[in-house]
Amino acid sequence: MLEKEFILRDNVLVVRLKGEIDHHEATILRNEWQRYLHDENLKHVILNMDAVTFMDSSGIGVILGRYKEVMTKGGEFVVCGVHGYIDRLFSMSGLVKVVRIEENEEDALLSLGVAS
């Protein structure tokens, strides 16, 4: 199971995930996430991985896919709450070199110029 929370802060979409990201959940996540990204006013994305307990390469795929969409819009893609096993997957997959990583949501928001 994967629980998803989408929060809008100015032109930033904050995505909070909780649970397991596999291929089944990644497909559902992508569909929902893309509906938010169609919003013209929305520019940047903060992805909070703090409560993700499991992820496989389908998770890497869905993150890379949204990263590319945000780049196309000229926005920034920031990930926070990356630790333990998720951190290992981010390193292995090279995601760590592509997206900006911040400690927590507050730092991520500040880095995008949004007061938290």
Binding site: D22, H23, H24, D56, S57, S58, I60, L64, G65, Y85
Partner: protein, 147 residues
């Protein structure tokens, strides 16, 4: 402590989490660490997802078989098999970042992850017949239990 099981299920994506948690609960008997269990779950997830997406091209009526054997020396042997389309070029398929389905946002990392989270990976495949992935994983931090 030798033990063995086989799990067969339909190629329905909802079964991915069922498959990995069943393997994890079977292997729990050799007292793996949390990290080892997570690695095991991940490789099961990768191979099962490949069978569903690539092997059966998302048809939901294919059978996937997982064979799991606990060998004496705290080694787990895992075989994941489908009777799907098969792989034409296994060497190419195993290359990091190679994927035949970029349109599905596949990262091409599946085999690389299976390789780094296990100690041995063998892929056997025949076009039109199906694919069998065999992995061996050593569990190091096993408490010695009286036999």
């Amino acid at each position: 402590m030798k033990n063995e099981m086989e799990l067969k299920f339909l190629s329905v994506s909802k079964n991915e989490s069922f498959a990995r948690s069943t393997v994890a609960s079977f292997v729990a008997q050799i007292d793996p660490t949390m990290d080892e269990l997570t690695e095991l779950k991940t490789v099961v997830s990768e191979a099962v997802t490949n069978a569903i997406i690539h092997g059966y091209e998302e048809r939901e009526d294919g059978w996937i078989t997982i064979h799991c054997k606990i060998l004496d020396e705290n080694v787990v042997e895992l075989t994941i098999r489908d009777e799907g389309v098969g792989i034409e070029n296994v060497a190419l398929a195993k290359e990091p970042l190679y994927t035949s389905k970029p349109e599905l946002e596949r990262s091409g990392m599946g085999f690389s992850i299976m390789e780094s989270f296990t100690d041995e990976l063998v892929v056997e495949s025949e076009v039109g017949k199906g694919t069998t992935v065999t992995m061996k994983k050593q569990f190091h931090q096993v408490k010695t239990v009286c036999h």
